[in-house]
Amino acid sequence: MATANMKDVKRRIKSVESTRQITKAMELVASSKLRRAKERALAAQPFFAAVYDTMADVSRDHVFSSIYTKKEVLKTVLMVVIAGDRGLAGGFNNNVLKLAMEKANEHKNEGFTVKLITIGKKAVEYFRKRDFEVLDEYPGIAESLNVYDSLDIAENIIARFRMGEFDRVELVYTTFVSALTQEPVFMPILPVKQMISGSGEKKSLMIYDPSPEEVFDGLIPQYISGILYAATVDSFASEQAARRTAMESASDNADEMIANLSLMYNRARQGQITQELTEIASGSLREE
């Protein structure tokens, strides 16, 4: 009996060890990807700040009307949902998709039509199974996202917005707070609301060529693609951080299991040796 039990325990230790190897490897991969993603997210900041500041300056300097700032008569909402491409990242995908679903249902209850653009395989799969009109799907672009991808998506959104396919655009994604916390957030993008100026100057003598409106409208693609780029990179960093944490605790749990199992194994081994000794001793006693 003892031998059979020992074999079982040994087998379980082996299997837990190999699982631990995988979780440990995933943890390491996630942390190196996280580092790169954080760098990318940081590098995108100045670009976005420059675009945002200029737009804020225009909107403060001049009284003007743009199709992008109009007060909407709300009928249709476009939601851009960014989630991960893979699972095994703790609650990462679940949290952001839950928030998206909540907001979408809210809109529905208020009587608006909800259309979607999904970024990331998990978001794509999730909303395919649900009762929403999905305009576009972009699975698997987050890791190697380049500017043209985000510009493409932005131009797509802008063209449809101008044609009146929807009159509000909102974004749901996960923001990276720290290596341990990632938060799903909700953010309206279009129409552009009152902007808070970065430069702080009162009326400037800026000359806008050819006109403030055109500079403002011309910046919209950069603005939207900047937001999308930043959000996608941010979400990717969050995904890696979430996966790292999840895999770290999985590895820790595996370590604990291995320790317990080793204890069990050693006990069984000792038990067996003791038993064998007793058998030998009692055998020799009988012979005397």
Binding site: A43, F47, V147, Y148, D152, M206, I207, P210, E214, S225
Partner: protein, 135 residues
């Protein structure tokens, strides 16, 4: 000529940060030249060659995609989705994306597709002209 500060920013990185004496960029209305002491100015830029004067007076040229230029007190900022120096352009990639864009234009799926392909073609052609030194 007096030098002034120039910054070229893309979403991926700060592409260039330094001083120059003259900058030539293309707005939808045509080329503008920026010298030190220019009045505060903002304009959109189209996909075009961007010329940055170097210390020896020659121009270093970069291909930029759509963006904007902003000049304020002795500092000039160029913001674009993508910028590449002429000698760093991947010609093969530019050719490929040109062919891809031409193919999509021929297919003529929809007005929207057509416009996107047209933009792509413009960017690819711009990269090719800049890398070929014909501007």
């Amino acid at each position: 000529m007096r030098p002034f500060k120039l910054k070229i920013i893309t979403p991926e990185k700060t592409f260039f940060e330094g001083e120059t004496q003259q900058l030539i960029a293309k707005t939808p209305a045509g080329n503008v030249g920026i010298l030190a002491g220019h009045t505060p100015y903002a304009a959109n830029l189209v996909a075009s060659p961007l010329k940055v004067m170097q210390e020896d007076g020659s121009f270093r040229v970069a291909a930029i995609s759509a963006g904007m230029i902003k000049v304020r007190s002795s500092e000039c900022v160029v913001v674009a989705s993508a910028v590449e120096w002429a000698d760093e352009i991947d010609v093969e990639r530019a050719k490929r994306s040109k062919e891809d864009a031409e193919r999509r234009i021929k297919e003529q799926k929809s007005q929207k597709e057509f416009e996107r392909a047209e933009q792509k073609l413009k960017r690819a052609l711009n990269r090719l002209t800049v890398s070929g030194g014909k501007y």
